[in-house]
Symmetry: C2
Subunit: 176 residues, 2 copies
DNA sequence: ATAGAACGTTCGTTAAAAGGAACGGTTGAA
DNA sequence: TTCAACCGTTCCTTTTAACGAACGTTCTAT
């Protein structure tokens, strides 16, 4: 079972704050919480209230789950963070993921079920991806769709990459 | 500024619990929290701790943000639920949204900035969408990209529609 | 050098979230 | 009918998150 890491939240909190060049006092004031509270949270102690997390997420402009969900490399590979966004229950089945790859990461993906297709849309950074024999270079805003029933990969170079990924599994029952 | 709705969380909690056919006592015991606590939360009172939310999300098997982020119709239209997933900070800027439309909903969208493009990927249901003069019918797994600097719309008929939506804003500084 | 302002931390107080034991209501079996 | 088991709610108590003030530090300006 997955367990809550209080320390990670603190690290994320501090990282996001520093990215924006804000002081702890500034962020606390903007969010309307006591700076002692924020200080404790960044140190990894404590167990913030939903209201507190919410106020911080709003100020930092992050979609909330980002603060708390450093979840976490389902296949045990380093440098890749994947989050399930939604899962269609209809036919054909569609899985939607948010994915983030650290610089200089190479991730090999096993073939999915026959006929499966993947679509990527790059949100930020750079990414090289696709079937192993036919890679494409993506820039922010670019999309790519390819057959995912063959080995394929994702590779970053100097930059992080953040993207949306959808996997469409073939609709076995509908074939004419 | 966006504000926290404590009541909505309670409704979601209860809905998810009932979907699984669990009693309040069962869920509370499984999550390791007092049932008085869960009862109060479902009633929409109180301000749960991160630990509490976490335990419930794990038991319910939902990606966490799902519990807390039923956010909510930025343009005040009925039947449309939109959630910001991620926002690129680079050039060109990319916004990624998750969106859900109730049956028999028609949503008109104002033109975005010149050159902006939208991409949709349908996760479940049916959706008719695109520029007003050139609509397309999408089925689960289908993707559609179109120029978003003209009026466009999203329309559902008998079914719900769940989709990913990305908006790519033109990179003004890069034009040759 | 010195006063001032801002930083992040620490500590005692206060407000409130979580726990635990009752309660009335409903169901089902003896 | 009665008893037992479970439901969800409502108290009261305990725990603790959030607050506010004070603290030592660092940096800048006078």
């Amino acid at each position: 079972m997955d367990t809550l890491s209080l320390g990670t939240l603190g690290q994320h909190l501090q990282a996001l704050r520093l990215e924006r060049g804000w002081s702890l006092s500034q962020l606390a004031a903007a969010a309307g919480i006591a700076k002692s509270n924020l200080s404790r949270l960044e140190q990894g102690n404590g167990n913030p209230t939903l209201d507190t997390i919410w106020r911080l997420a709003v100020q930092l402009g992050v979609p909330f789950g980002t603060l708390v969900a450093p979840i976490s490399v389902p296949l045990g590979e380093h440098g890749v963070e994947v989050r399930l966004i939604d899962q269609g229950k209809e036919s054909p089945q569609v899985d939607a993921y948010w994915m983030r790859c650290a610089p200089h990461t190479l991730r090999h993906a096993e073939p999915h079920t026959p006929g499966a297709r993947e679509s990527l849309t790059l949100i930020s950074g750079r990414l090289e991806a696709g079937p192993e024999s036919d890679l494409s270079e993506l820039r922010p805003g670019d999309s790519l769709t390819f057959a995912a029933d063959r080995p394929h990969l994702y590779r970053t170079h100097d930059a992080w990459a953040t993207l949306l990924l959808t996997i469409v599994y073939t609709d076995e029952g509908d074939a004419p």
